[in-house]
Symmetry: C2
DNA sequence: TTGTACGCGTTATCAA
DNA sequence: TTGATAACGCGTACAA
């Protein structure tokens, strides 16, 4: 366990000043080319490594991006994180990650850690429970940009990255109606969160615009997990009359629900048409294949971090738009096709 | 954008020395209780936050754990990361994450970043390409513990966390044989990696122990992706005679392969029995449900980080065992049950 | 129980 | 083009 080499060691070795060493290693223009060469060779040979703490301490900057997600083990968030890490890494930033596990108190604790770690920027997707943004004010007060994605909320100083959930849900519901469904159930998550509230609105407006009644009893609140899908299916089977269409707010839950219904003897899509949300791998595996909304997680991550980097390095100019909408699309598969359409036809993008 | 409050500011405010402030905030025993109380109140009121860099610089310790994974968007690695984050967070450590994207050069670059970031410990699952551990020597030389999990390699100073891949594959293959399969194909990944090499061995030994021939042509090398599953299925369909059993080294690939075979008119498990690896969600969704090996990702993450923490904080004593084996198990589902066994029976654990 | 003084390794500033 | 010096904020040996 040898001692670390510092720029002083190199300076002594080369009979130069530490200043020059520092400059050379940072490729400062005012250092002689030959000197630079000598220094970088010596540094490599001596096994020098820069001390980021000292540098951060001095520069008051960490080159670190913080991230708070509800859960790390979700296909959607994995995709987002993969996108973020890719860009952050390319741009020379470290990524610190923590999960709120859908609780407010963890989210608050995570925010504190991120703050103490002096992240240069923060990317957040809110937990189910979050109903106040107080724990993010500390960042905003210090000019540290905060960006919300997917599970967002309005804040005058923060950019939101989302898809048009209302429109996507509207399209999905309309598609069900066009397939002849007249009694459509919607399985949703925590309505505090924009994503679920907006999808509910889209569902509702589509019904109304097509002169179908909207009834509260057709909206099932759920945790949207695999387990919750089974429970929802049981609730649906107890309904009288049975619905003929189901729009679920994520694929995990939709797939589990679909399978439970099938096991109970319901024919999909003939008796009930089903639509999910996210385009997870499982939507392409379940039989019949699940109609769903394609939600570009990796792309969302890349956009989010790019915008964050702009704000971090920006000359202070605010980006005019406070909300960035990414394109999403309805992918029609067999689980919702009740017409004469061949079930073998290729995926159709709307 | 106010200026940061430091212990000096608090000291001035309370007419005490910075030393006392520092001690009080770190709950040092030799500070008067009342003084402590006053100080922590003032700190809270003034909006003080500790500067981790200065502290790290001084303490030569970062409270940060580094992690290098092949891909962030994989169900298995997501589960591992979730487990690691949970424990690390509880113990007050930050987590820095990067992905190698299965390439050596990225893994090397990531290792350098982790080293410069002065992580206190490192968790690694190796990329497909990695064939040298040189980039980890810098850590080991400085006494920074490195732990490999899942995709591991032998190193006299590093602990490995794995499951018994050979045994798991042996069990899976034996199960196929017991179900009457005599011509079994194995779809594997990059054989440089222990996980795939060991599973191949388990497959091979099971065949030999049951007096079945082992033929190279029955081993298909693959990227184990969704796409690769389709390709593998096509290769299998071109075989003559057709095999009657398939053991695949992950679920994503197994499911995709199974579906492609079904579409080509093969009956699963009657014509071909199929077994996967990992127990991903898709294995419970595909029809017929996939027999697979349960691979406890979250648990593996938790164990890995616990062992790492012990080594980081250990009094230098080495842990006797160099390899920690976690329990895995064969989950028998319909995709491999060819006997008279009811396909509706519950999952069977072996 | 409290305080003084210094060092951790780097970079910004000013001067040469 | 190079160097001397101070400062970033904290923790600790030593002194009181």
């Amino acid at each position: 366990m040898e001692k670390d080499i510092t720029i002083y060691d190199i300076a002594r070795e080369l009979e130069l000043s530490p200043t020059t060493i520092s400059r050379a290693l940072n490729d400062h223009p005012s250092v002689n080319k030959n000197t630079k060469q000598r220094i970088s060779e010596a540094a490599a040979q001596m096994g020098y490594r820069s001390n980021l703490f000292a540098s951060n301490l001095r520069k008051q900057r960490t080159n670190t991006i913080g991230m708070i997600v509800p859960r790390l083990d979700s296909p959607f968030h994995s995709a987002v994180i993969a996108g973020i890490e890719k860009i952050a890494n390319e741009e020379g930033y470290n990524l610190i990650i923590s999960q709120s596990l859908e609780t407010l108190h963890k989210e608050v604790a995570n925010a504190k850690t991120m703050f103490d770690s002096r992240v240069d920027g923060l990317l957040v997707s809110l937990s189910f429970e979050t109903d106040s943004l107080e724990h993010f004010e500390q960042f905003i007060n210090r000019g540290i940009p905060v960006i919300f994605y997917d599970r967002v909320t309005e804040h005058k100083n923060c950019t939101n990255i989302i898809i048009d959930n209302l429109q996507a849900a509207y399209k999905a519901t309309t598609h069900l109606i066009e397939q002849g469904c007249t009694n459509i159930v919607h399985i949703t998550g925590n309505l505090k969160r924009n994503v679920y509230a907006d999808r509910l609105k889209g569902y509702k407006y589509a019904l109304i615009d097509h002169n179908l009644p909207f009834t509260e009893s057709n909206v099932l609140k759920s945790q949207l997990t695999e387990e919750a899908g089974k429970l929802a299916a049981e609730q649906i089977l107890a309904m009288n009359p049975l619905p003929d269409g189901i729009f679920v707010s994520n694929d995990t839950c939709a797939v589990s629900c679909l399978r439970t219904l099938k096991q109970a003897g319901i024919s999909i899509p003939r008796d009930m048409a089903v639509i999910g949300f996210n385009n997870d791998l499982t939507s392409r595996v379940v039989e019949p294949n699940l109609t769903t909304i394609n939600y570009p997680g990796q792309e969302m991550g890349e956009v989010a971090v790019r915008v964050l980097l702009m704000q971090m390095n920006g000359t202070g100019e605010k980006i005019p738009s406070n909300t960035i909408n990414l394109r999403s699309e309805l992918i029609i598969r067999e689980s919702s096709l009740r017409g004469k359409a061949s079930p073998k036809k290729k995926d159709i993008l709307l």
